[in-house]
């Protein structure tokens, strides 16, 4: 009888073991679609494993759902990863070992929770029998999630101005060298590195163009689990409300333009709200509540620099409410634990940022950033900032739903001392205002991508809170109704430029194409550029540092040479700062001063996108101030490269790719 009761858990364990046996050995060629799908699920399971370990220590006797465990487990990757990346010990092997340990922990958790797994299996069986129509609807919703998951795995579009020149090379550099120091890179400066670590985990068993898999697959799964698993004092939100709100999320136009944080923002902001709700559900030892909060906050902060203010504002509000209610010095202990642990987990990433860009916290501390290229508008004031806030809200967020949801949130009377929803709303509003304030040289469409995560999570959080609030149930029902109507309105509203059918047509095409790709080991299907970049790199002696301005530097071997990616010339450079507009002699002297002898670059007339001189000439009169400001720097640097090439020996030249040796005159 005991064995029979353990069958559901045994099936889970068997699935993990079989999947690991399929994906982990790198000797047998696998179909890319299957391999990456299985591997991504293993990474998710590994997160759950690490999260189960956290739950074991902080909430041994509580039921912590899969979504929270997964988010906490991802937080462990950030916490542990931070300590490993500083001494350059977070390469391919170390990352694989971290995932494997997580899988072992997941198996241990399945054994430990075998009764709960059995109970869940029985529950689903009963549910299917009692509510067959709702169950069918749930299955349909799960099919939609699976479809989105598969689209994320199969989407091979990476953009040539962020991903190809910076984000993908960061991932490869991290895997090959255990760290990623890029003093010239503005994109490196703009995030502490959490997203790069997560993308690199998936990259262990995927091709570079599949770098959307973490954000659009694993994080979509995490969001779903966080929504479905939400309980507030044992109460769950109505299924139909969950289906509507998830429907809204999936039908929103996908405005992400690169592999930087998008859905991961939604996932970890929602996890932040969920963990704040969990922490307030009962009083525990201060460190026990503080640890998961710190793990989720640290993860969120490392994903994008502009996510930083949200946890800060949210924690300040949450603990402020708690202090107001309790009015005792004792209530200060937990905030100190939370702040201390958050700092402890984030500090290694800040140290990494210092190693890379001489700043612990950009933009407060400029480091290698060129302040003359500030992202703020030169002509600014209160009304202009208010206008940009409103414009960003309307154009850059799911504003129809958010508008309703703000009303719904205002209707709610939260019983919990920490008021997690209000605290999170304050965090999200503070983060929104801070992002707009820091990017006044940009426009609503671009800023909208940065605030999407926090605002979408706010919608989800409000529906969950309204669906489970016990205090003043009439108000809660009204709030839930308003929020659900808001989500329905958002679903009904379709932007002309983003019709939903196009997204799904495109997605099915991508799945079909990737599933037709034959089994392969890494590199056997590499494009011709891979070999071209290999020949380029072979023209430079192994071990010698070189700087690059290339379209696809992710084809380079970062283990062979130390490489600095110049990325977007002008924004960032190591001290004393790269000179601009002063002639090529000074630039040459600068490179020699910082120990760069070789420079590899793509000629502007051959650049496939980002380094086309003619394109940047047109951008000189762009409507966006930040691009008008940047364009002269890039043009100047392209002209400088040409001038330096005229004076020095060319080691390599093929299809517009050039390597010059600054120590050898022509």
């Amino acid at each position: 009888l005991t064995i029979r009761r353990a069958i559901p858990a045994a099936i889970v364990i068997l699935a993990i073991v079989i999947a690991a046996a399929f994906a982990l050995p790198r000797t047998v060629p696998q179909r890319p679609f299957v391999e990456t799908t299985v591997w991504s699920l293993l990474v998710a399971a590994s997160f759950v494993g690490w999260g189960s370990l956290v739950a074991f220590f902080v909430a041994r006797k509580e039921r912590i759902d899969l979504g929270l465990r997964m988010a906490w487990g991802a937080g462990v990757f950030i916490a542990v990863g931070g300590f490993m990346v500083v001494p350059s010990a977070l390469g391919r092997t170390e990352q694989t070992v971290l995932v494997e340990i997580g899988l072992a922990l997941a198996i241990a958790a399945a054994v430990h929770d075998r009764e709960r797994i059995r109970f869940r299996a029985l529950f689903f069986g009963r549910f299917a029998r009692k509510e067959p129509r709702i169950f069918a609807l749930v299955l349909f919703a799960l099919a939609i999630v699976a479809l989105h998951y598969s689209i994320g795995i199969s989407e091979n579009h990476t953009n040539p101005y962020d991903d190809d020149i910076a984000y993908l090379p960061f991932v490869k550099k991290l895997l090959q060298t255990g760290t990623f120091l890029e003093p010239f890179s503005f994109r490196r400066l703009s995030a502490l590195g959490g997203q790069t670590l997560f993308v690199s985990l998936l990259r262990l068993h995927s091709a570079p163009p599949q770098s959307n898999a973490f954000d659009r697959s694993v994080c979509v799964l995490l969001i779903t689990l966080l929504v479905v698993g939400y309980r507030n004092r044992g109460r769950r939100a109505p299924y139909l409300a969950i289906i509507v709100v998830m429907g809204m999320l999936f039908t929103l136009p996908l405005t992400a333009i690169n592999t930087a944080s998008y859905y991961s923002g939604v996932a970890f902001f929602l996890a932040l709200f969920r963990t704040m709700t969990w922490a307030g559900a009962r009083e525990r030892k201060p460190w026990q509540s503080g640890l998961p909060l710190a793990l989720v906050a640290a993860t969120t902060m490392t994903l994008r620099q502009n996510y930083l203010p949200v946890p800060v504002f949210a924690f300040a509000a949450s603990y402020g409410f708690r202090l107001w209610k309790q009015r005792s010095l004792k209530s200060l202990i937990e905030p100190l634990w939370t702040a201390g642990l958050t700092l402890a987990f984030v500090v290694p990433w800040m140290v990494l940022s210092y190693q890379s860009n001489q700043t612990f916290l950009y933009p407060i501390m400029a480091g290698t950033f060129n302040r003359a290229l500030a992202l703020e508008s030169t002509d600014w004031g209160f009304l202009r900032e208010a206008k940009l806030n409103v414009w960003t809200f309307i154009e850059g967020t799911p504003s129809r739903a958010v508008g309703f949801v703000i009303i719904a949130a205002a209707c709610l009377r939260e019983k919990a001392t920490r008021r997690p929803l209000l605290a999170y709303a304050i965090g999200a509003a503070g983060g929104f205002a801070a992002v707009v304030h820091g990017l006044t040289g940009s426009d609503a469409g671009n800023i909208g991508r940065y605030v999407f995560g926090a605002t979408a999570a706010f919608v989800l959080a409000t529906v969950l809170a309204a669906g489970t609030e016990r205090a003043n149930p009439k108000r809660a029902q009204l709030a839930l109704g308003i929020a659900v109507v808001g989500c329905a309105v958002q679903i009904a509203f379709e932007k002309e430029e983003f019709p939903i059918y196009k997204f799904y047509n495109h997605g099915f095409e991508k799945i079909e194409q990737l599933s037709h790709e034959p089994p392969a080991l890494e590199h056997t299907l590499e494009p011709p550029e891979f070999f071209l970049y290999g020949r380029l790199q072979n023209s430079i002696p192994a071990g010698q540092r070189f700087a690059i301005l290339l379209d696809e530097p992710y084809h380079l071997d970062y283990g062979r040479n130390p490489i600095w990616n110049i990325d977007m010339p002008g924004y960032s450079s190591p001290a004393p700062g790269m000179p601009f507009f002063q002639g090529s002699d000074k630039v040459e002297a600068y490179f020699k001063q910082i120990g760069v002898r070789y420079i590899a670059y793509v000629k502007p007339e051959y650049s496939r996108y980002h380094y086309r001189r003619d394109y940047w000439l047109e951008v000189l009169v762009d409507e966006l101030e930040m691009w008008r400001a940047f364009a002269p720097y890039l043009i100047d640097f392209l002209d400088t490269l040409k001038a330096m090439t005229d004076r020095h020996r060319v080691l390599f030249e093929e299809r517009g790719l050039v390597v010059i040796d600054l120590e050898s005159p022509k």
Binding site: A372, T378, N389, A429, L620, V621, P632, I635, D636
Partner: protein, 190 residues
């Protein structure tokens, strides 16, 4: 009310006025000089005349920069403008400033001979004669800022180009396609 206040407080706190440092201002000026040089080298200087720059910003009421023919930024650059088009101009210390706006009115569309007036912070400082078919609808509006008091002590001022003769379609005036500006000059008076 408390909820709304908490939601709006961060914006109110952050939205304080920013001033560009002198060093950054000089860098902006240098960048604009280079912009003119680079575009001049490829015979695309006309775009400079209708682009925002360190001391001029095109705002509401103007369309984006377009080119005729449209494929190449080296061609004739222009912006559509509406009946009340807004710009921001920056003072050059206490220097007197000259403004010269060149453009064209689609007279067959407006069916009148309109007048274009330029305002600084709501004060009229210059206007054209009625724009007629004698010039094929082309106009040149010149004005001078002799009194920096018009800036009211601020670094930037509002400049409005008001075209009498088109009084409808207030939301997206450039779509009217009734008037264009193809050069905006803003220079210190020698």
């Amino acid at each position: 009310l408390a909820f709304a206040s908490l939601m709006l407080a961060p914006t109110a706190l952050l939205a304080c006025k920013k001033h560009q440092s002198e060093e950054m201002k000089q860098e902006s000026i240098l960048r604009d000089e280079l912009k003119a040089k680079y575009l001049g080298e490829v015979d695309a200087s006309r775009a400079v005349g209708v682009s925002s720059r360190w001391d001029v910003n095109f705002e509401d009421g103007f369309g984006k920069i377009l080119y005729d023919p449209k494929e190449d930024f080296r061609n004739h650059a222009f912006r559509w403008m509406g009946p009340n088009s807004h710009m921001r101009i920056r003072r050059h210390g206490d220097k007197r400033m000259a403004i010269k706006v060149s453009g064209w009115i689609h007279l067959k569309m407006v069916r009148t001979f309109p007048v274009l007036t330029v305002f600084i912070n709501g004060q009229p400082i210059g206007f054209t004669e009625p724009i007629t078919d004698k010039t094929d609808g082309h106009y040149v509006l010149t004005a001078q800022i002799d009194d920096v008091g018009l800036f009211q002590g601020q670094e930037w001022a509002d400049l409005n180009l008001v075209l009498n003769g088109a009084q409808y379609h207030w939301l997206d005036p450039p779509l009217l396609n009734i008037a264009i500006v193809y050069k905006f000059e803003y220079d210190e008076v020698p």
